[in-house]
Symmetry: C2
């Protein structure tokens, strides 16, 4: 550790759960892991292998209850959100971790989990465009933005579906570590990033605007 | 199974190895798993958890030796390629699987593994732009294309670094399953795909053109 806060490592904790969407997780993780100044941990309701929506298993080294204060908490989407919105124990674990994090962020239908946990109350937010109506039904106290690649509102960042998580991650890197770190990551990953959060052709494709 | 060959499932086998790059794998896998008509399997030199370049472990259910004929064999890049180019047993397992596959494809520095195995002899190919000189050193009988998002040459498809694998995967879906399957996958993933294989701003950033 260094005593210079500007050079301190930012720690991202990724929440895995059965039925998480692969790219929701590994798009942002790829950029975070290629940026200087960012470390990434994985945690799940129960430590051990966690099956994605697709079926392939990823190992969560620790349980959510073992996570110490993260700088950034990232909640992905995926099929698993459909049951977890009705899981009080899981939602309580999100609330506990979110209270300790500087920034809480979701990709895709992960926003439904944050909303159901009350973590988007009074915030502007967005989510996956194909499942938008379902997500909105879980957040009556949220101002939902149908046309957005991602939405940043104070300490809550929410992205649209799947691939949108990478564009949000690049913006989040720039805002937390710095623009140079974001550029280093996107050039290393050979990713042409979408830097305009209001750019969203998928809102129109799915009839939301 | 159906008796209509046009409706047959295409099977992609992803080769995992210690030090594979996450997005090289999960970018294409996300698109393949969202497309109708495509299934994805994972295999590694030894079945079980495989640590990525980043450290997070992904479970390979079977060993490479257990894989039956894949339609498409996908080899990712990552730090692990630096040692695997000198691993005769691994390279031989690639040759055996490639001989049975209809299409052999690589993302990023995975091209160095294909080249060292002799699987790009007489082909045009590309690779990661930051590590291009190193990759080219492993393929004296390959025509390397420095400025390309991806290169398709008969039954060999090779992409540039990391995120480029998703653009190639969308094109590969269109070519093998059909354009509608590719569009379904990219819309579901909310991915604005780069459809021009010659578009490559990263070649210039890395001084290759």
């Amino acid at each position: 550790m260094t005593s210079d806060p500007a050079a301190a490592e930012r720690r991202v904790t990724i929440v895995l759960f059965p039925g998480f969407e692969l790219l929701d997780v590994f798009g942002p993780v790829q950029l975070f892991s290629m940026a200087p100044g960012m470390t990434v941990d994985f945690a799940a309701p129960v430590a051990g292998p966690v099956a994605s929506s697709h079926g392939v298993e990823v190992v969560a080294p620790v349980a959510l209850a073992e996570v110490t204060d993260p700088d950034i908490l990232l909640v992905p989407g995926g099929r698993g959100t459909r049951t977890l919105v009705s899981d009080p124990e899981f939602l309580e674990s999100l609330r506990i971790l979110a209270a300790r994090a500087r920034i809480v962020t979701s990709v895709c239908t992960g926003a439904a989990l944050l909303a159901e946990a009350g973590l988007l109350d009074g915030y502007r937010a967005t989510s996956n465009k194909m499942s938008f109506a379902w997500v909105v039904g879980h957040g009556a106290r949220t101002t939902w933005v149908p046309e957005a690649r991602w939405v940043e509102d104070r300490d809550r960042w929410t992205s649209s579906g799947v691939a949108a998580g990478m564009d949000m991650a690049a913006a989040l890197l720039a805002a937390t570590v710095g623009p140079e770190a974001a550029r280093t990551a996107t050039v290393r990953a050979e990713l042409e990033v979408q830097a305009d959060p209001s750019h969203d052709p998928f809102a129109r494709i799915h009839g939301l605007v």
